[in-house]
C-alpha cells in the first residue's frame, strides 16, 4: 500500500502558487514537503515560504581569515626563512606586506564564496531529479509530497488554483 504520494503541478501565476501553498499548509502538509521551481528569482517570501538559513557568510568569513593568514605568511614570514638584506630596507616592510596580505585575503574570499555556494546548493548534481523543462519557459512548478489519505483534498486545492499538468514528477537527469 502506498503511504505517500509525490506530485508535480505546473502553474502560470505566482499568486496561485502562493495561495495553493497556504492552503496546503492549512491541510497539514509541512514546509519541507513542498518545493517550488521557477525560471525567475521571485522575492523571498513571495510564494509564502520561509527564508532558509544560510551558512554561506560564515564560509566566506572563514575563507577570508585563511587567506589573510596565508598572505601574512608569504609577506611577513617567508623573508625570514632566507634573509637577504638589501639597501637598508627592513626584510619585511609594512606597506608591501599590506598589499600582499590584502590581495590574498580577497582571493580567498572570492574562492570561498564560490565553493561555499556550490556546497550550499549541493552542486554539481547531475543525477535523476524531479524537474520539468517548462520551468525555464516561465511556468512555476510545485513539487509536493503528502500522505495518500489527503489525495482528494490536495487535488481539489491545486485544481482550484488552476494547476496544469498535475501528476507524478518525471525524474530526469540534469
Amino acid at each position: 500500500m502506498i503511504d505517500t504520494i509525490t506530485w508535480m503541478g505546473l502553474f502560470n501565476e505566482s499568486t496561485q502558487v502562493a495561495a495553493a501553498i497556504d492552503e496546503l499548509h492549512t491541510l497539514g502538509i509541512p514546509e519541507d514537503k513542498m518545493e517550488v521551481m521557477t525560471g525567475v528569482p521571485y522575492p523571498e517570501g513571495a510564494l509564502g515560504r520561509h527564508r532558509e538559513w544560510l551558512s554561506l557568510p560564515y564560509i566566506v568569513l572563514a575563507g577570508a581569515g585563511a587567506g589573510f593568514l596565508f598572505g601574512l605568511f608569504l609577506s611577513a614570514i617567508t623573508p625570514h626563512l632566507y634573509r637577504l638584506d638589501v639597501g637598508g630596507h627592513p626584510p619585511v616592510g609594512l606597506p608591501p606586506a599590506a598589499v600582499i596580505t590584502f590581495v590574498f585575503t580577497m582571493m580567498a574570499t572570492i574562492v570561498s564564496t564560490f565553493l561555499g555556494v556550490l556546497w550550499e546548493m549541493n552542486f554539481p548534481h547531475f543525477g535523476p531529479t524531479p524537474y520539468h523543462k517548462l520551468v525555464t519557459d516561465g511556468f512555476l512548478v510545485l513539487l509536493l509530497e503528502f500522505p495518500a489519505a489527503l489525495e482528494a483534498e490536495v487535488r481539489r486545492i491545486l485544481e482550484a488554483h488552476r494547476v496544469h499538468h498535475l501528476g507524478e514528477p518525471e525524474r530526469m537527469p540534469l
Binding site: 518545493e35 525567475v40 528569482p41 521571485y42 522575492p43 626563512l81 608591501p96 523543462k133 516561465g138
Partner: protein
C-alpha cells in the same frame, strides 16, 4: 539545421491580453521599454538562443581572419623565444616597451566589466541587466590577454614558475616585497574572481540553454548548469553569493590597476614617481574600459541582431558613464601635469618639452585630442544613443588611451637622471605581431563566447520585467518599479 528545441506544445501558456504574436525569429520593434514588452518567457529564450545558433558565412570569415592573425602572433612569439628577447626593440634605457604598454592597456580594458556589473548590481540599477554578461566576459578575456604579457616579457618563458609561491631547495621564496610579484598575485586574483563571478551568474542561463538545445550544446550546457533546477533555495543562495561577490570584487578591481601603477610609481624614474599615479591609472582604466564596452556592445548588437535587448536607453546610460569617467581622467591628468610642470625638475622639464614640442608631440596631441574630443561629443544625447556615433566616439577614446600608455611607458623611459644614458625606441615586427595577436585573440575569444553562451542574461531580464508595471499619472502612463531584490 538549427538544434534549438521548441518549447513543448502542452501545456500552453494562456495568451496574454494584448500581446503581440510574432515568430521567435523576427525582430520586433517595441515602442515601449523592453522590460515592459509583452513577450512570453519562451519567446525571450528563443530570441536569445537563435542568434547564438544561427551562424552565417560572415561569422566564419571573421573567425578565420582572427585565427590567422593569432597564428602569426604565435609564430612571432616562438621566434622571440627561440632567438631571445633581443629580437624585440628593447634597449637601455627603454627596457619596457610595446609589451608593457599593451599590458597596461588590457588591464585598463578589463576594469569596466566588473565595475559595471558589480557596482550597478549593488546600486540596483536596472539598465545594467542586458549588458552585464558582455561586460564580465570583456573583463575575463582582457585579463587573459594582459596575463600573457608578463610571460612574453620574460623572454625565457620556461622560467615563469620561479614566480609561483613555493620555496626552492634553500628555502628562498619569491620576493613578495617586489611590486612585480604583487602584479602576478593581483592579476591572478582578479582573473579568478572575474571568471567565477561571470560563471556564477551564468548558471541559470546554462540551465535554460540545456532545456532548449540538443546535440553537443546540450552536453556542454548540462555540464555547466551543474544540475540547476531553479528552486527557491537555489535562487536565494545565488542572490546571496552574487551580492558577496559584488562587494568583494570592487576593492579587487581597484587594487589591480593601483598595483600596476605602483610598478611605475615606486621607481625613481622621472614622471613615474608620483603619488597620484594609482588613482590616475584607475580612472584611466575605467574611462578606456567603459569606452571599450560601449564599442563592443554596438558591434555585438549589430552582429547578433540584439537590437531588442541592447537599446538606446542602455547606450545613453553607458555614454553618460564614459563622459563622467573622461572628466575625472582629465582632472587627474591635469593635476599630475601641473605639479610636474611647476616643479621644473630638469629631466621632467626635458620630458615635458619632448611631449609638448619635441619628437613625442604628435603622440601627445593625438592623446589629448582623442581623449578630450569625445567628452565634447558625449554631451549630446544623439551621440550617446546612435550606435554608429557612439562606436566612433568610444573607439577614439581607446586610441587616445593607448597613446597615453605609450607616452607613459616608452616616452618617459627615453629620458632619465643620467643624460649619457638617454635613448630612443622603435618597435620590431616581432613586437607588433605579438601585440596584434592579443587584439585578435581577444576578439576571437569574445566572438566564440557570444556564440556559445547566452550573451544577454536571460534570467536577469526576466527578473527586471517582474519589477515593472504601468501607472497612470494624470494624462501619462508611466512605468513604475517595485522593490523586489
Amino acid at each position: 539545421m538549427s538544434d534549438v528545441r521548441q518549447p513543448a506544445a502542452d501545456p500552453q501558456p494562456p495568451p496574454i491580453e494584448g500581446a503581440k504574436v510574432e515568430s521567435p525569429n523576427s525582430v520586433v520593434e517595441y515602442s515601449e521599454r523592453l522590460l515592459l514588452a509583452e513577450r512570453t518567457d519562451s519567446e525571450i529564450n528563443q530570441a536569445v538562443l537563435q542568434p547564438m545558433i544561427q551562424t552565417g558565412r560572415g561569422f566564419w570569415i571573421l573567425v578565420s581572419i582572427l585565427g590567422a592573425i593569432v597564428a602569426w602572433g604565435v609564430y612571432a612569439w616562438g621566434y622571440l623565444v627561440y632567438w631571445g628577447i633581443g629580437v624585440s626593440g628593447k634597449n637601455r634605457p627603454v627596457y619596457w616597451t610595446l609589451f608593457i604598454t599593451t599590458f597596461v592597456f588590457w588591464i585598463g580594458i578589463s576594469h569596466a566589466g566588473t565595475m559595471i556589473s558589480a557596482v550597478l548590481r549593488l546600486l540596483k540599477a536596472d539598465w545594467r541587466r542586458p549588458i552585464t554578461r558582455g561586460a564580465e566576459a570583456m573583463t575575463a578575456f582582457a585579463l587573459m590577454m594582459a596575463g600573457l604579457y608578463p610571460l612574453i616579457h620574460l623572454g625565457r618563458v620556461w622560467k615563469f614558475y620561479w614566480m609561483i609561491p613555493y620555496p626552492n631547495n634553500r628555502f628562498m621564496w619569491p620576493n613578495f616585497q617586489s611590486p612585480l610579484m604583487w602584479d602576478l598575485v593581483a592579476i591572478s586574483t582578479y582573473l579568478i574572481g572575474s571568471t567565477l563571478y561571470l560563471y556564477l551568474a551564468l548558471i541559470p542561463d546554462m540551465a535554460m540553454a540545456r532545456d532548449h538545445t540538443g546535440s553537443w550544446r546540450y552536453i556542454l550546457y548540462r555540464a555547466l548548469a551543474l544540475g540547476w533546477r531553479g528552486t527557491e533555495g537555489e535562487w536565494q543562495k545565488l542572490h546571496r553569493a552574487l551580492s558577496i561577490f559584488s562587494v568583494a570584487i570592487i576593492p579587487i578591481f581597484l587594487s589591480v590597476h593601483s598595483i600596476v601603477s605602483w610598478d611605475f610609481a615606486v621607481t625613481i624614474q622621472p614622471r613615474w614617481h608620483s603619488t597620484i599615479f594609482a588613482p590616475y591609472f584607475v580612472v584611466g582604466a575605467i574611462y578606456s574600459g567603459l569606452s571599450a564596452l560601449a564599442s563592443i556592445l554596438v558591434l555585438v548588437r549589430k552582429g547578433m541582431r540584439l537590437q531588442e535587448f541592447l537599446r538606446a536607453e542602455h547606450f545613453d546610460s553607458l555614454g553618460k558613464l564614459v563622459l563622467v569617467a573622461g572628466l575625472f581622467w582629465t582632472y587627474f591628468w591635469f593635476a599630475g601635469f601641473l605639479v610636474e610642470w611647476y616643479g621644473n625638475e630638469p629631466v621632467t622639464r626635458e620630458l615635458i618639452h619632448e611631449e609638448v614640442a619635441g619628437r613625442l608631440a604628435p603622440l601627445f596631441y593625438l592623446q589629448m585630442g582623442a581623449n578630450l574630443i569625445p567628452l565634447g561629443l558625449l554631451i549630446f544625447k544623439k551621440v550617446r544613443t546612435r550606435p554608429g556615433m557612439l562606436l566612433a566616439t568610444t573607439l577614439l577614446v581607446n586610441v587616445g588611451m593607448y597613446t597615453e600608455r605609450l607616452l607613459i611607458v616608452i616616452g618617459s623611459l627615453q629620458r632619465n637622471h643620467i643624460p649619457f644614458n638617454w635613448g630612443t625606441y622603435r618597435p620590431t615586427w616581432v613586437e607588433i605581431s605579438i601585440v596584434a595577436m592579443t587584439f585578435a585573440g581577444f576578439a576571437l575569444l569574445y566572438t566564440l563566447f557570444s556564440r556559445i553562451v547566452p550573451y544577454v542574461p536571460v534570467w536577469e531580464i526576466k527578473e527586471g520585467r517582474l519589477r515593472y508595471t504601468m501607472r497612470r499619472i494624470g494624462r501619462l502612463l508611466v512605468p513604475t518599479a517595485a522593490e523586489i531584490e
